[in-house]
């Protein structure tokens, strides 16, 4: 996030797209509601009328995968009307002329045709967003989990720069990160091309710094992503896999394919707190500890580094995960794993990570710090790009609309999108053993528009078989006018009816390598015969 969570409250306009904020980030939704009470206008662009959409001043359902088109459409209108922030553009950005040329073609009519958002509404949104004093954008996986994910994100950045709605409090472009420590794990280089703090593995100078710190030669070659590793197993190139606290059997697209890879890999280590679907396939399972049983830090979605503290000892012979990893490091003959506590690990990583350099356990005990925080006297950065962008000037990137990889056809006539519920979390390993949460809901379902349900001859509560080119699942029907006609929604928390048996792992965003979870083509069939 470019800005911090409390800042939402003071925005004048909040544009939310591809985020079911109430479900996935309830306490951020809380700030949005507060902003509304203080008079902010809330705009939601989402194919489902979710909770936050029902509270919005404007809600429109766009066609799946049409985001670049409506964002370009907004920019077209803004430029036609002269609502852009020319001072900001002149002083802080580059590439404006290219952008102008690119959005020229996205007339309101064309944007409406592709996105399904009426041109009058587009105009209204453009005006509110551009002319409000402080406008903030919130987005989540509904924007990134597309083959055009990177394009979508860049388009939103274009929009913010065009109107100068960035680099000030309560503005910015704010991706909400799904899991508790996605931000931190990325910061800590759980990505194939960087060292901690987004330092390139291909940069010789940086690599030398890490070689010195870690005491040995490092590979200059960019590694493989999750989906590429799964494919490399199939190709016989990847032989051993270590999975820490993840359940790709449920969370990854096209689970049939993932399952085969996990069966085929020669050696699989899984470190987790439960015997997940993934752990069952392992050769060795190492019992880790829950958040209540260890110390450490998480980095929240707004780059806020916070502590978790040990409340009880790990259960049985389980160990805190940091301790297990030190043992594994040492067993492999590695040096530099003699840490006595997470505090010592943090000190080492802060030393090597400029954006964390000024942070330590004593400081975050007392203050809230958002990285970048480079020195001990640096208060940190609740919002970014105050005095400029990382590369100096903000670069506009002209983006053209591209349709989703898999469009509906005669055989698979419906579009599927997936998402989260307020009552469960990710693959459900923790929430589905939590009585208060399973009491609310403990079964997958498919949301269908009343017209579609009628056409299929199914009623609320009946079961259907949903299939895509990759697999099939059976689920209960929930009829709701909250969803766009022709589109179906399945929450992905439920292993026994895993939505990711259907999703498309072959369609990847070329840059971010994020699979297109949010659109695929499906067919829906009524299951005949009486169901119990």
């Amino acid at each position: 996030m470019t800005n911090s969570v409390p800042e939402f409250e003071d925005a004048d306009c909040i544009l939310i797209t591809g985020s079911n904020t109430t479900s996935s980030h309830p306490l951020i939704a809380s700030r949005v509601m507060k902003a509304k009470e203080k008079g902010a206008k809330i705009i939601v662009i989402d194919p489902r009328k979710n909770h936050i959409a029902s509270l919005a001043d404007i809600h429109v359902k766009q066609n799946l995968g049409s985001d670049v088109a409506w964002i370009n459409g907004l920019m077209h209108i803004i430029l036609k009307e002269g609502w852009q922030n020319q001072t900001f553009i002149d002083e802080r950005t580059e590439g404006f002329e290219d952008l102008k040329k690119a959005v020229e073609a996205y007339t309101p009519e064309k944007a409406e045709e592709i996105s399904g958002i009426p041109k009058e509404t587009l105009r209204e949104i453009a005006e509110l967003y551009a002319k409000s004093e402080k406008s903030s954008i919130i987005y989540c996986m509904g924007i990134t989990q597309h083959i055009t994910g990177t394009d979508n994100v860049k388009s939103l950045a274009n929009l913010a720069m065009l109107t100068g709605q960035i680099g000030r409090p309560s503005t910015g472009v704010n991706p909400l990160r799904g899991q508790n420590n996605v931000q931190g794990s990325t910061d800590m280089a759980a990505i194939p091309n960087k060292y901690p703090g987004y330092q390139d593995v291909t940069n010789d100078e940086i690599r030398e710094k890490f070689e010195k710190a870690w005491g040995g030669p490092l590979s200059p070659k960019v590694g493989l992503t999750v989906v590429e590793m799964i494919n490399a197993i199939e190709e016989g190139k990847l032989k051993g896999l270590y999975i820490l606290g993840e359940n790709p059997m449920i969370s990854d697209p096209d689970s049939t394919h993932v399952e085969k890879a996990l069966d085929d890999v020669e050696f699989l280590v899984v470190q987790d707190i439960f015997l997940t679907e993934t752990a069952k396939k392992a050769d060795v399972v190492l019992p880790g500890a829950s958040f209540a049983e260890k110390d450490g830090t998480y980095t929240g979605t707004d780059r806020r580094v916070q502590k978790i503290r040990k409340a009880i000892d790990p259960l049985g012979e389980a160990k805190p995960d940091w301790e297990i990893l030190c043992l594994v490091g040492k067993a492999l003959g590695g040096k530099g794993f003699d840490f006595q506590s997470p505090r010592e690990v943090f000190d080492e990583l802060a030393e090597l990570t400029p954006i964390y350099h000024g942070i330590d356990y004593d400081r975050i005990e007392k203050e809230i710090i958002h990285w970048p925080c480079r020195e001990k006297d640096d208060p940190g950065s609740p919002y970014l790009h105050k005095d400029g962008f990382a590369r100096g000037k903000g670069l506009f990137t002209p983006i053209e609309y591209k349709p989703p990889a898999e469009l509906p056809d005669d055989e698979y006539p419906y579009q599927l999108t997936t998402g989260r519920l307020p009552f469960h979390y990710h693959t459900g390993t923790m929430t589905r053993v939590s009585p208060s949460l399973t009491h609310e809901i403990n079964e997958a379902y498919i949301e269908l528009h009343p017209q579609d349900a009628k056409a299929l001859g199914v009623k609320h509560g009946e079961r259907v078989r949903v299939s895509s080119r990759r697999g099939a699942i059976e689920v209960k029907v929930l009829v709701t006018s909250g969803i766009k006609q022709g589109v179906a929604f399945i929450p992905f928390h439920f292993a026994e009816a895993a939505a990711n048996r259907l999703t498309n792992s072959a369609a990847l965003d070329p840059i971010a390598k994020i699979p297109e979870y949010k659109v695929c083509a499906i067919k829906i069939e009524k299951i005949n015969g009486r169901e119990g």
Partner: protein
Amino acid sequence: MEYQTVRTTCTYCGTGCGVLLEVLDGEVVGTLPQKDHPINEGKLCIKGWSAHEFIYADGRLTKPLVRKGDKLEEASWDEALDFVAKRLLELKKKNGPDSLGCFSSAKCTNEENYLLQKIFRAVIGTNNVDHCARL
């Protein structure tokens, strides 16, 4: 009779709300919202309020498991760790470091993510390090 609360961070979403785990005689019995936390200001969602509920759930792993034929059997830490090290080093020797990889975790701490990538980069010698949270 011992009751204390432990100030920590909710383990569910990236909002990172401040919670207090209530510990009664060494057992976590509840979760409270931290009143003076700048993000949640004494409020939580249903997941946060029940963040303690999975801790003692059936099925929590309490011992290392090692595959013997079709079955995963309980093993000692020494046995499990030796086996992990032996197999990974064998595969590295035979097929090179890039034949190994890891999925790190968006649910684990910064320190743990740092350590796992350090193992793969510095000890194994590959950049095949990623996480599942593009998802």
